[in-house]
Symmetry: C2
Subunit: 228 residues, 2 copies
């Protein structure tokens, strides 16, 4: 029997690359997608197609209305606008407070119940939007917290978060994914939730820059292709 | 303007005592209750009454169907039975994997959005059910993780979890709460979700033992009052 892994799958470029990595390593995959009232919730449909592509064992879609209810981010609050002027050095208004903390907490519970010992998450601290919950220090600390909280802490193998893209640039991620046959045509990245993608939000800009640097054609349609 | 605090409120004895402590310290309270498909979800109604008693600024009730969907605990899986034979040394089947990790993650997000810097949680590692997510090592590690993940990590005051009951016995908690005028008549503890309370599940047993040791009359009705 194959080892099991939980893969946090948004339907975007990075998490879909993680699916490719987990599949390449032979894991039986339990995909976990969050429907948290994000402006770009069409990504949930993309996640379904990606999960189907990889023939996952189970795909759970978790509704988290709470994040929309409390707002506080341009991704969940319809009153706030998504910036389209380019990536800056500050933590942007698209940051959803504690999002990956919440996602990884729920993934830990899921992993413990299905008997997975590995959780994949596609965070990267290179070519990213400056979100604090994408940094390697956060992942390391979260691993420590998980080790203390789960039942398995008394056993030999704790649940461990793997963030295989954390030190990769977007271009490196795309090169790796392309080698692994990752279906980028099924993914979406646009924060504005547009199809064709807007091409000007931070997420579209970072994606386009990555494909350009990798020398690979981005297979999805755009309204406009802005350099980052 | 008063300082704000998020209080995780189940409607049970410990979290209601935390409400009393937060109120006594003068915090403006943002109560957070989780409806996660627990067998004893009548506690949500008790939480509402407690929140009303304390005149909280806001009371959010978060639906988390996911925990019920994945099961894995006697508290969320109707197929599993709640033990009634007494408290043992093992992690019991009523443990909900990662429950406090999930609750604190969502509380962190809530605190960040409303501008609270303190989160109260009523965990105790004395007279408890052996859950790993109630131990002080977990709280300390979670505080470290929160410090790394939240926006406020760059500012002076990070969000901090306070677990004022973590080293208190149940009797000490009840003595403290009684001094603070905590409305224990509004609370419930029964894992079986019964009213009158069953008196024989771990949670009823620990509560009854605590009141007996504190020399205080437990104001709620029981089917039977078993010594722990």
């Amino acid at each position: 029997m194959n080892e099991k892994a939980v893969v946090i799958l948004s339907g975007g470029l990075d998490s879909t690359t993680c699916m490719g990595i987990a599949a390449d390593k032979g894991y039986e995959i339990y995909a976990l997608t969050f429907d948290y009232g994000q402006r770009h919730r069409h990504e949930v449909e993309h996640a379904k197609r990606v999960a189907q592509f990889y023939g996952v064992k189970q795909h759970r879609i978790v509704k988290l209305d709470f994040l929309r209810q409390i707002g506080g981010s341009a991704l969940t609050d319809p009153e706030m606008e998504v910036p389209t002027e380019g990536v800056t050095d500050d933590i942007p208004v698209t940051y959803v407070p504690g999002r990956n903390l919440i996602f990884l907490s729920l993934a830990t519970s899921y992993a413990e119940v299905v008997g997975a010992r590995t959780i994949f998450i596609g965070v990267s601290a290179v070519d990213y939007s400056g979100y604090p919950d994408c940094r390697p220090e956060f992942i390391a600390s979260m691993n420590e917290t998980i080790r203390r909280v789960t039942k398995t802490s008394q056993q030999e193998r704790p649940i461990v978060i793997e963030a295989p893209l954390v030190h990769l640039s977007k271009a490196d991620t795309i090169r790796l994914g392309t080698r692994l046959g990752v279906p980028y045509h099924l993914t979406t990245s646009c924060y504005q939730g547009q199809s064709p993608a807007c091409g000007v939000c931070d997420s579209c800009r970072l994606r386009l820059k990555g494909f350009a640097e990798a020398g690979v054609e981005d297979p999805i349609p755009y309204v406009t292709r802005q350099p980052s």
